[in-house]
Symmetry: D3
Subunit: 244 residues, 6 copies
């Protein structure tokens, strides 16, 4: 059934989806679907406000991640759990690595990643999709005059890799993920640098050579995801200009 | 901007959406969008199980309702509130009026209504959409041999009506809803009977004549929604048969 | 045992009860007993305060509803549930329909309805009793000089009606309520207008004629409840004047 | 205003109150009013059930304490706090000292103490009143054949004492309690023995002589409370016999 | 195994322990071990702040108590329970009786008592140990110039006593505590006055003579604990001076 | 002040600490101190029990992590947060990589890591210390006859590495951690394989060469930590044998 090559990404698209938020896309990666919205606000968290009551000199990007009840064959109960908490901390960290927070003073962007269908790789698809929603929201913020300059420093995208049946494989779907001995999530930026590397030995620990093989696979996959993101952002820009 | 006649529904469609659940549609009513999924299970709530340990003689239908964070221009915080609790109790009650629970022994169906865009009428759109997801899930249950007979007794649909600027109006969008003096949600079945009538004087109390005018409007609107539902269910049946 | 006529109210009294709150009555309707107190405060909820820091131009009325542990033969566990949440939202909406909030600027009244004995109709008895406690608390507020004019616009009262064994019945006690095919709660004001209509098909949906019969019964019952309220308020005024 | 002698109890009565619970009284001690109900059940807490699945050899008595929202001039928010938790643990311990749990196998009695008006001494009034409700519930349990013998070993009652303006005083109301340097709650049984002694130096620590003077006052007050309890129980027995 | 005399304390030491808090000791009493830290802060609880926005005229001392998971042979689940809540309220009350809060304006000290090994008497050991941590923290506060004068009025210490096999016993370890018919916790100050007396009949109520015998035992034990505290404080002062 | 070489561990010891748990050590790494206990139980989590009611064929290892209130100069509030949740998931995953769960059927070991002093590297010190407590608890389990064979497959230890001022540094204390551009936690087993690699770009993303340099540092540091663990376990075995 899975006839992909080990170093091949699943078919991936990033499309607009109806929303009231400033940024809003649905990323499809194989069967996995994540609705990513980016909401714009000026209500910074209290700890970011200067003590002297003056205007904020920085902005902030945060993220939330949730699985929708229909995302799994056995209904997923609503409400956060420790896995979700860990994932949304990861998403937010990576997104913040894409922007210069000082170039978006006083602006809060909350990226919500709601998994419509979970077939593996939801946390990395969330990062890849949420970056596009974030970029759209920042375009809107500039358009509204909330910020002067483009705060984006470099795009970020993420992919999962793993060792399955002893072979390094790119972009694990759920059946592969369940059988993986090693599971690694890698986030990189547009300059080919690492933003986050999280490798876990599920079954058997792994040696340095295997780690290197996984990093090579991830790098190639992320390169292709950055292209998909770029296309989606150009489309959004085009629509925004035509809407004026 | 709102050039609908007072007795006209907003454009309404019910389309399939990707999901791992047995039933899965997105209902669009004007700008409002609700993702409705229906998950199939045999884990009945403990209070439904016979005390003697024998097999359950009835099934159950329940519902959950949530607004997604990007559903409103100002981001909607996740997590239940009292309004949501009240709405999901309403949805579940109406859906249960559509089925004969004794014809689905041991089967639990949970209908999840997640509002993607909130532009008024989300609770009634949830009912109308969730009924279709429920019907799909019951088809699947029969297809899998979990139940023998069709438990559906009659379709159900719902619509909001209200008094705006002194005039009775059908299917309030958000700007109309905010200005309504009276807000009423009506759910009816395929036999033209009431399943639920909830009328609230937001600004001014209303007399019997106005109540009657609102009920007339609702009846006409629900008639048209039942047709949209029927079309969506026929499409689903058609796909299911071709998939065999 | 139940020898009432179908269109007869259960015996209903509204008496003072010891309390430290400004308004305080116990309503008895058949076996049902609800302790209704109305507490006076100037701590408006934050969202009601003007953004400019100036004085509030309106007041607020809110309500809480709870069943006391000994209110049912099987002890009722403390702590809110979704049913209670829905009921207290209803009570508060109806009470607010009785007053002109702009005539009570800066004043918050919280009406607490604690069910001492639950034998059906606790939510409508709560409304009927809490209106009296609210009126007492407003008298106290004027007496203390917290408000200048009487904010009451019209009294409000509520009653339950239902279809039992195929017949429309007024003021359901618990045994009737359990057997009702349709259960409807109606709140009306002193001008004979509807404030809230909530009809639910528990067993079988209902046609328009039945709805009309239920509304007729409710109107007659509420008329009599308004008289009981008026007597209780006159008593309270009389005591207050004599206490001076 | 307070013209009681330092060694005089406030006027105290224990009267029946409407309830669906097996035991149900209202105790009035000065302005303080507590509704005490005792609910009968056979649902023992899981930790009391024998591991071998056999029948329970003991019963249990537990208690809950809450202040009703209208019990204080400034409305009391609902929901437990640490003070309430501590009080209900105390009430339950003292009530259990009144009974032989082995003479009520498989029976759970939950005593609920809901403060209607709080004017000092609510925890000790709760104990004194709840004992009567407990005794009523045990009468009912015997009457229903749930237990064979009377589990009551000795009555229990409680009172507060304190040092105010340097003088030992019995049964503190709220104004006295606020000014007390030492606050002590004493619970004793019908044999003149201590069940609980809780003395706290609010302002100044106290020497042995003062402790003894407080214990003397408490002993005399509890003696009178035991008589009030006895009268209330005899009334309840009389009604129960006449009801047969 | 327990060869102590009935009026003998278990071996008791109070030693420094590594910490980032201003005060930090471990008290060992027999096998029982409690880590007591006292953290210094100027964030007074909101209810202590003067309404006029001026500087606080008083300080505050509060306490928290928790059993560490490894403190009992069967692992102790984390998270507060009602027993812990009651204990920490007791600890805080007794510690506040040691200081003049007006001599520490604007200073908050939080004493944390974490039980490393629980072998009976953890609440009284917590009081005895926490007083030393509190005294250290106040030394630090003076050293830092946060307060001018020594706020300590008198030391406080506490011990448990009980009736076991009919005999009054000092300082109950867990096996003794389990078998005690009466359990009493006594806190006294350096002037031989009572700060708190909490006696509970676990099995059998107790007469006045027994109460007096227990108070005599407690007084002698607390006298010895005050000496251990004094030694630990002198050591801390000595180290602090040498560190300058 | 920090005169360590960049590739030098902080002074590290693992010592026994008083506890009622089967395994119990305190690890000190520089100023950081973590109390690690391992509690033995046969209460497996419900999801591990075979559906057929037969005996469990596997055991389980879980972990909890908490910072004690006095662990930081500004008092750390009790109660879990998302950071703690993420850390305890990491600790548990790494510990499970050390054992063959099928060689400890029916046994649950809960490792608690309570941070006494937090000066950087608390999560990796928790892993290193908890492994020793786990090993002790397994020795006890064998000693008690709860398991037959040694379930340990390989030891595990962890260390943090990071890039500070552009240089790769081993074992970051708090001041170094705050200034680190990249922060990486590495866990390895006794065969030199990776169990977990978690690298995060705090400030600037990092290239492959830097990643490799960090991995080299971690490998050397973990080698030395495995020796410290081995010494602590030999001591524990020695004591256990002499205690027999």
């Amino acid at each position: 059934m899975n006839t992909r090559a080990d170093n091949e990404l699943r078919p991936t698209t990033i499309e607009p989806i109806a929303s009231a938020a400033a940024g809003h896309v649905m990323i499809s990666q194989g069967q996995t679907r994540v609705i990513c919205t980016a909401s714009l606000s000026t209500d910074l968290p209290p700890w970011m406000l200067p003590r002297d009551g003056g205007p904020a000199t920085r902005g902030w990007v945060t993220a939330e991640y949730a699985m929708m009840p229909g995302s799994t064959p056995q209904r997923k109960r609503r409400g956060g759990d420790s896995r979700g908490t860990e994932i949304q901390r990861l998403i937010a960290r990576v997104l913040r690595a894409a922007v210069d927070l000082e170039r978006m003073p006083g602006v809060l962007i909350t990226c919500d990643c709601d998994v419509l269908v979970a077939d593996g790789g939801t946390r990395t698809a969330s990062i890849t999709g949420a970056y596009v929603a974030l970029a759209q929201a920042l375009l809107t913020a500039r358009h509204k005059g909330m910020i002067e300059n483009d705060p984006i420093d470099t795009p970020v995208a993420a992919v999962s890799v793993g060792i399955v049946d002893g072979r390094p494989v790119l972009d694990l779907d759920y059946p592969l993920d369940v059988n993986a001995e090693v599971d690694m999530n890698v986030a990189m930026n547009g300059r080919g640098e690492y933003v986050e590397v999280q490798g876990t030995a599920e079954g058997a620990a792994f040696c340095r050579d295997r780690l290197n093989a996984l990093l090579d696979l991830a790098e190639a996959g992320i390169g292709r995801l950055l292209e998909v993101q770029e296309g989606a952002i150009q489309n959004a820009k085009f629509k925004m200009q035509n809407a004026e």
